[in-house]
Amino acid sequence: MTALSDLALRPMQTQAFRLAAVSATVFLVVATLIVGALFWQTNTLLTDHVVEELRREAAELAREADASSPDEFAEKIEARSRATSTSLYFLASAAGAKRAGNLPAFPLEIAGSATGGVFRYARAGDAPGTGRLAVGIPVPVGAGQRLIIGRDVEAQTELAERIKRTFLWGFGALAVAALIAGLAIGRSVLRRVETINATTRSIMAGDLSRRVPVTGSNDELDELSANLNGMLDRIEQLMSGLREVSDNIAHDLKTPLNRLRNSAEAALRDPRGAEGYREGLEAAIEKADDLIKTFNALLLIARLEAGVVEESAETFDLGSLVHDVAELYEPVAEEAGLRLAIDTGDRIEVRANRQLIGQAVANLVDNAIKYSARVVVAAGGAGHPRETTVSVDVSTRGDNAEISVADRGPGIEEKDRDRALRRFVRLEKSRTQPGTGLGLSLVAAVARLHNGTVRLEDNAPGLRVVVTLPLAA
């Protein structure tokens, strides 16, 4: 029973069924009004027609009554009475007795009326109490006689009655059909929505690989399913990105944390006592500082990935900023036996966060110096001038400003270049280098935040990093 009521009731609660019910009701009301109006008008028309005919005959009879004697007239009425079965007559003498006609009695309903009206009469052979409906009018025939002529309208009434019944049955059937259709549509919609719900429930339970089935009918439900699937794809992509990121972060932080712990343990075991403790603590602080640096870089990248820059953006000359930052590193480059060639054009304005762009340029120049320095050391000190130059250039190309930092270091292999720019990615090689190794990731994040790009190119030999930023409007 519950299953049965469930089968019928649940679709009734659907939007589709409600819509079907409402539209069926509205249709029925409007149809009833229209048909009612038509019916009424037809009826009036027919009645008018009957009354018109009666009047014409009444006028004719009035003339004949004048032209003939009462007996002759009674005979004429008698003749007419026999001719048809729908025309009704009753001629009464002044005394009230019947003289001619096919009506069994004078219709009392219209006895006092001058204009006539509707009355009921019984035909010979009819069962008593089953009167037939007729319309009658009085005819002035003089000499104290009274004549009533009428028309039997039973057939008309019956027709009208039948039409009414047909319409009622028809409407009833239509309404039931509409409701059943609504119920059926509701059930089919419900079934598809239930499929979508079941899928989303299993996704919420943790199975992100599930997808909502698409029927291929290209209707709104299909579109909804397709959109849900698109959303799920995006979420899955973000989730796997997040997993990769947290793996990287875990690796980047756990290793130095472990080193920090190691130095604290080693200090505790140091047999020299106070002196050993001091050294251990100093090492621990140094390692904590490294850890903080890495952590800050990771946090900054994460913030940049999610952030907007508008509030802290200012319009400034990119050339002079890059020049200043590069200059900060000039003594460092010199000590490493490198030459820093800075070439920045005049007034290349961008709208950006000055500190972030500064940080990005600092990372690039710092990296360039570190990697070039290794080559210089490997070559046994001062190398050929060309091979020891780190170039920092700022130029414009189209609507973009381009910062280019090129070194003569080992470069990055082509297959690794895309990866090197990904979020939180450190290339294996960089893990053995000092620093957080997140320099390029951070540069890429800064560029992305400012709607810019980063390209890694072969400086043959070495690496050239090109950062493009949109010029200030």
Binding site: I285, L300, A362
Partner: protein
Amino acid sequence: MRVLVIEDDRETAHFLQKSLKESGHSADIAGDGETGLSMAQSNTYDILIVDRMLPRLDGLSVVKTLRTEGDRTPVLILSALGDVDDRVKGLRAGGDDYLTKPYAYTELLARIEALSRRAVPEEQETRYAVGDLVLDRLSHRVTRAGEPIQLQPREYRLLEYLMKNAGQVVTRTMLLENVWDYHFDPQTNVIDVHVSRLRSKIDKGFDRPLLHTVRGAGYMVRDGAL
């Protein structure tokens, strides 16, 4: 120096109180924003250290309220937030300096000492002198024992900042922020290289070094040993 520390983490607050006492200062502690505000309003402090995220009333509101009331006590804002705009917001609210957690105590100490000095109306000194080192701010000339020293513009500004804070520790970050106006991590200790170049120009050939390295903290210009 009398310091008010408005910090809700008890361990951090007590660490600061103890450390400041060891450094020769006295410190009061407020555990939430409302208490901190009323303590700052009813007492006179040389410096306020305000954490940004506080129960009841956040740090920035405390500073804003004090500033609207005309209180000009120097404020150092501490923050565990790391947003790009946080520093700007902190300074806009009326903070005088901004330090992101985690920080080194030496950094905090150097900054509040620099801040408390800045609070004393700076009589526009036209020349700084430490020992026989003289920096003339009008002619931009530097002499040591009467001998002129040639400095690059950036070296001049570096020395100017160090001499302005003579006798006080100046950290690398403070130099980067005040001499270069950079609020980012330069990865390498670039500042060390710049300072050592400056040192070679002002101390080389003299018996008494004036530009000292303070281990684990930063630098100090001072006549005499540390």
